[in-house]
Each structure stands twice: as structure tokens, then as C-alpha cells.
Symmetry: C2
Subunit: 349 residues, 2 copies
């Protein structure tokens, strides 16, 4: 096997941030991925049609500047705010939003204005159910012990599924064995994304040697047992589990300091997009399941969101490639390291 | 209760490092503690009578410069090196060493020259057993998953206890529930130190919010269940469990960067000594066991090492005190924060 060719992939969970670096950060994804669901935890949040449209326009302007990324399509998600009304949700859908994102208050970057409970978004959730807009969830209760936060959120998802019986739900960046078991107990309209870092790594990367901010994320990397469960589930070809990188660049100074006395210290977020596809190819190859890579990256997610599959194709060539050392002031995961596959866009794709 | 008076305490596990900052770092302990067992993982290691004597002399010179710390006694430990002979061990004992320290290779700061297994130190261990020199152990197998490293080392301790049936053993900075259970199954000559940070905190401090290098240590902070087991054991007044701070300052730049591409990132080590006694007083008070504080800090450890108890006394006064913001370029644990007790040396102590 010298290369594998797959349909151009989607990333159903991506942070590209704002301001000047955004153009470079989104292009780092747009070179490899045909589409990505752009997370709305910006400042201010992407919570109105105007803001979503402005954000999409900025992203489109950025990718169009480079012929290699010009074909990229940003798929937009909005942030569900406390008390958000049905009309607003309808407007967001009309503005092309594909999903609404549920951030528990305080769970992650820019989420202090998030939801204290589903009750805080009752009207929006009813509207989303009615309009067929999927609910994307950062499934953690931040008041719990860091390793238990995702598990602690599962009863909330069960309640959401019961209270909104037609609502389609995505458990984002699913990270622990208990959540996989929970997923199996849920109706088929509940799905999950899995990141490349939760699939391949454990807390050893975060704190096994030095304390590595570039492998610190929320939910945090977990145990070998959790990783094994994720690997088994992804290799099994379960159509309810698809790729979302949660690639999340932060400026180097935020990750590595200097910090003020008492913090805040390095925020969560792994800038994995530049390394994602080569790592996924190596993972599926090692698992003897290369034929299932395409479904994970390019089919199951599109099916969940009711999107056509991408038409272009892309080659993952078995030769060394090198992760960039830095992209617009952020360090990618495995910066400067060798990867066993290289991404090659097929001619005419 | 306005204050509690205790016999002046001992710290049976302390890092004071080398070079210019050492004087300030050791004084931060010597103000509160009458004696401390000084860890030997210096560069070069404290593994010969000459080096141990030079290190002790440097420490004594530092504490004698300040009348508040002049009475401090450094208790010396030597580092057990692969292939160390019986004669060397006898020389180290003659030089006043109180214990030999077992560092598994790669387990922590400056331990790449440590032991790959007890077999690598057979002659030294036999000599220590013969001479009645206790074995102090960093009980982690670094090749295991970070949360399992201490548990994974327990069979090695069992083997050591069996192979050296008179050897007195200290499991240093004991950090997990399984180790406590193991300790109960061991003969009485196996004891343990407990730090204030493992007693009070969990991994939430390291990575629950931002990634906080000042709460990163080896063994790492663990789960609420482990912390509860430690608290129960310490409050129970078990004479085989005594205080060792593992206070371990690192220069701020090592903890907070800037780092080189790909690391190494922040090393383990919590500089807890400046906050230790007020925190311990608050912990025992909250647990309704203030009367047991003195045994933990000032009696059980001395008994294990066959030392007389300290004669001076010290008051822990119930009034706010403030942790220094910085000491010779290192950030103490809880730097700048208020503590509910203040340390006051009794007149004439």
C-alpha cells in the first residue's frame, strides 16, 4: 500500500478563533478538509444571524485568498444562550446554521456565559427540535472532578433526549468509556464526534513527563482504558461516531506563559488539525481497518447532518511528512515532528 | 481556640536544590521546621561522604546566616546508585546519613541515573539492612500510565521487604488509596510520608481549570477517592504515617517557560514548605483532630528514624497569614494567598 484515496473529509468540530491569526488557522484545516463545523465560542458569541454571517464571511474571505483552500466550506454552528427565543433560532437556521451548540457554563474556553441547565434554553431547544436543527453538546459538568465531568453530564443528555424526543444530539469530543456505553443505550438520533487526540493519547501526554500545555484540552485526555474503548468503537465502523477534531489553537503566550501570579494558566485546546489526517490514516492502518477511514472522516458525519458527501478526493500517501513548527503564533500538536503519512490532494479535486 | 502549641516539627522529605537560591529555599523551611531530611537528587548526586558533607555544610552555612533559622538541622540522605558498594554505604553512614534514597530511573527530577530494579543495588541494600539505615523510596514505575505508577511499584516494595527482612522502608509521598491498603498489609518496619498537597488537593488543581504547573508533581495529585483515603489515614493517627513535605522549588522559568519547541515542559515539584504548617493546622482542626497534629509533624517520624524529639515549641495562631509571592525566583504553592493560621515561634524556642 503506497497510498489510500478517500473522499475529501469533513471535520465536524473545529475552532478557528478570531482576529488576524484566524485566516492562517482556518487554512490549516481547509487544505485537508472540504468542510468543517465552526464552533461559535467567539467573543462576542456567534449567537445571532448577523454574527454568524459575519463570521462565515470572514472565514470565506480567508480561505479564498489561497487557491489551495478556496473550495473550503465553513458550516456554521450558533451558541445557545440562556433565554434564547424561538424566533432567534429560526433566524439562525435561515442564516444557514447547521447546529446549535450547548456550552455548560464554565466548562471550557469562553463559556462563562453558557447554560446552567437545559431549562435555561427550553424555548431554543423546542425550536431546534421543531426545525430539525441538531444539538451539539460540550458534555461536561465543570463542578465535578476533572476526570468525572463527562460521565457526570450523561444524565443530562438522557433527560434532553427524553424531553425533546425528536431532537438530534451530538456528544462532542466523546472522551471516556462510560460515554460510549451510554451512547449505545441511546436512540440512534444521539451520535458523537471523536477527536484524533482522544483517540490516540492519554493523560500521559499531558503530565506523564513534563506538564505539556499542547496536550491539555477539555475534556482532558483520559486513561488507557478510555482510549482503548474509543479505538474499538471507531474501528468497529459505528456510523454514529464520526470525526470532529476539536482542533483549538491558542496563541503560544497563552499556552506557555508568562502567566500572572495565580494564573489564569494555560487554557485547554489541542491544535490538532494540521496533523489529523496522517495520524488517522496511520491509526486505521495499524488497526487493519484502512477501508473504514473514509466512513469516519467523510460519510457518517455528513449523513447525520443530512449533507451531501463531498465530491473531491484526497490521497494519504505513505511517506514521511512533517508537522509545521508553528502556525500564526500557535503550536500545532506534534509541532516539528514526523508523521508516517502525507496528504496529497488529487489533481482536479 | 486561639492557637495551638506543638513541639517543633520535622519535615522528613525536603528538596532545597543547589546554587544561589538554595540558601533562601532552605530558610523557607528552617523558619518553621527544626529538622528536615534533605533529598539527594542534586547534580552531581549526593552519593559519597564528601558530597554529602559538602552539601550539609552549604546548608548549615545558609541557615546560620539568619538568626531565625540558625538552629535548623539538616538530616542527610544519600542517593543509591547502581552498583554502589557496602563500603561506600558504611562511609555514608559514618558521614551522618540517616537514609538512602531509591530513585527508579526516570521517575522524577534528576533521576535518569537511578535504579532500573532493586537488583542494581543489591550490595548497598544488604549493607543498609545490616547497618540499620532506612530505605527511602520514590515509589513509581515511570513506564506505566501516570495514574498507575505508584500502584505498579508496590510489588517491588513487597519484594524488597521480603528480600531484606530487617530493612526499614519509607514509601515517600504516598499518593493513592491502593498504597495505603498495601501499607497495612506490610510489616511495621514499612512506613510512609504524606505531603500536604497530596493530603489536600486532587488533579483538579493541576488541570481542572487552566494547566497549573505549581500543582504538578511526581507522583501526581490524584483523585478525590485517593485524597479521602489519605485524609482518613492521617487523621486516624496511624504512627506509620508521618509528614514529609516533598517541597520542591523550581525556578519560575522552568515552571512557566518559555520552553523550547517540543519541551521539556514544566517539571514536577510543588514548593509547599512555606504554606505547609498553617495548612496542616487547618486540616487537623477541620477534621476535629487538632490534638493529633503534633504526632504527625513532630513525633512519628522521629520515632521511625530513631531520633530524639525536638525540644523547641512552636505556635500555630488562628489568624490570617499570607504566603510569600515568590522566594528566590520560585513560586510557593498558593503564592500570595491567605491562610487561616500563622506560625509563631515561641519565645526562647
Amino acid at each position: 500500500m503506497e497510498f489510500i484515496e478517500i473522499r475529501r473529509p469533513d471535520d465536524f468540530h473545529l475552532h478557528v478563533r478570531q482576529g488576524e491569526p484566524m485566516a492562517y488557522w482556518v487554512r490549516a484545516s481547509a487544505r485537508d478538509f472540504a468542510r468543517a463545523l465552526i464552533m461559535p465560542n467567539t467573543i462576542p458569541p456567534a449567537d445571532s444571524p448577523e454574527r454568524v454571517e459575519a463570521y462565515r464571511a470572514a472565514i470565506l474571505a480567508a480561505v479564498r485568498e489561497d487557491p489551495e483552500t478556496a473550495g473550503f466550506t465553513p458550516l456554521m454552528a450558533f451558541k445557545i444562550m440562556p433565554g434564547m427565543g424561538a424566533e432567534r433560532v429560526a433566524g439562525l437556521k435561515a442564516a444557514g446554521c447547521l447546529a446549535g451548540k450547548y456550552y455548560p457554563a464554565g466548562a471550557t474556553t469562553n463559556s462563562s456565559d453558557g447554560l446552567s441547565s437545559p431549562a435555561a434554553a427550553r424555548e431554543a431547544l423546542l425550536a431546534m427540535e421543531e426545525l430539525g436543527l441538531p444539538l451539539s453538546i460540550h458534555a461536561e459538568l465543570p463542578e465535578y472532578f476533572v476526570l468525572d465531568r463527562e460521565k457526570a453530564f450523561l444524565p443530562t443528555i438522557e433527560r434532553l433526549s427524553r424531553d425533546y424526543p425528536k431532537l438530534r444530539i451530538v456528544i462532542e469530543h466523546l472522551s471516556c468509556a462510560e460515554s460510549l456505553e451510554f451512547l449505545r443505550s441511546m436512540p440512534e438520533r444521539v451520535c458523537a464526534t471523536v477527536t484524533v487526540h482522544h483517540l490516540l493519547y492519554t493523560m500521559d501526554e499531558t503530565m506523564g513527563e513534563g506538564l505539556n500545555p499542547h496536550f491539555f484540552c477539555k475534556p482532558c485526555l483520559k486513561t488507557p482504558r478510555d482510549r482503548q474503548a474509543l479505538q474499538d468503537a471507531v474501528l468497529s465502523g459505528n456510523p454514529r461516531i464520526f470525526f470532529g477534531s476539536d482542533s483549538a489553537p491558542h496563541a503560544l503566550s497563552k499556552k506557555e506563559g508568562p502567566f500572572s501570579l495565580g494564573g489564569p494558566y494555560a487554557p485547554g485546546g489541542v491544535f490538532s488539525a494540521p496533523a489529523a489526517l496522517p495520524l488517522l490514516a496511520a491509526f486505521f492502518e495499524e488497526g487493519g481497518m484502512l477501508s473504514r477511514l473514509e466512513n469516519f472522516t467523510s460519510a457518517f458525519g455528513a449523513a447525520f447532518y443530512g449533507l451531501p458527501r463531498n465530491s473531491g478526493r484526497l490521497r494519504l500517501v505513505k511517506r514521511d511528512s512533517r508537522v509545521p513548527e508553528e502556525i500564526a503564533g500557535a503550536l500545532p500538536m506534534l509541532a516539528g515532528r514526523q508523521l508516517p503519512f502525507d496528504v496529497e490532494r488529487k489533481e482536479g479535486a
